[in-house]
Symmetry: C2
Subunit: 170 residues, 2 copies
């Protein structure tokens, strides 16, 4: 549901067309993120179908055809509702590492402690990468920093959890 709301959010500051929405998303909203252009168009179709946006065909000064989308009142209400409400924090019952450990415990000849150790190594490496990226982002853009700070906190929490798993399963 995130891309729908991201697009609604970008439209809150005025009408835009699909290609422009993608550029704004990638260059301004989530600088490290990629947004598939095909998905933008299908998402806009669905938003229009649901009455959140409406479009107008505009022939630009250059002669290019554009479909310029604008928020409807309904769309603005949905955006406000989304921003005002809390985001779900699900339990992550399908966590891949958890599943891997649980399965490893059930198979003969596989040591779950080895799995934990390998995941820990990979997690450390990842933390290192992200920390370097964080250093490079320092002072460039606040939001880039925030996203990387979140990743760092998550990875540290995960490492703590892996230690915890090792203890409890020994």
């Amino acid at each position: 549901m995130s891309i729908r709301h991201a697009i609604l959010g970008l439209l809150a500051n005025g009408p835009r067309h699909g290609y422009d929405l993608r550029a704004t998303y990638q260059d301004d909203l989530v600088r490290a993120g990629k947004l598939n252009i095909g998905q933008v168009y299908t998402t806009l179709d669905r938003l229009e179908r649901d009455g959140f946006v409406e479009h107008e065909r505009v022939v630009g000064a250059e002669g290019r055809d554009k479909k310029v989308y604008a928020l409807t009142a309904h769309g603005r209400a949905e955006l406000d509702r989304w921003i005002a409400g809390p985001s779900p924090m699900p339990l992550d019952l399908r966590n891949e590492v958890f599943l891997k450990i649980a399965i490893a415990r059930r198979i003969e000849g596989v040591d779950p402690q080895d799995v934990i150790e390998r995941e820990r190594r990979a997690c450390f490496e990842r933390l290192h990468e992200v920390t370097q990226a964080r250093a490079r982002a320092q002072g460039v853009a606040v939001e880039d920093e925030l996203l990387l700070d979140l990743a760092v906190l998550r990875l540290k929490a995960f490492l703590k959890w892996l230690d915890h798993c090792e203890e409890k399963l020994s």
Copy 2:
């Protein structure tokens, strides 16, 4: 990709049929988790198509028809490869709360600090719920505890991040 591997993992201890796989998943592997039975069958179809499993029609003692699936050598190799390799730890570039904050900053009349405050409250409540569930799980099953411990660590990390956001965006 998690369900595919979970099913391969459950088949490592011997052949099973779809309905049984789902029951084992829910009652043994991820006790808090639900697995849609339709998805089990479509996943088994795909695993078979890819050569990871093969099935045999078995008429049970009661007269019920069962399709009993077994790992192929290829499937076992894939399972081992999955267990041995690290799990991806992506950056979560589409994190809903991050998007919400970023969008809130770009819309007039919306205060991102309010968004952060609301998310924090929701996060606290969630932490409280999960902590209670954790207490109930204590001593029942180690893996139930681990999953909830992970959730607790994640929520705490997220709360820390929200505090961090509040500072940096003020």
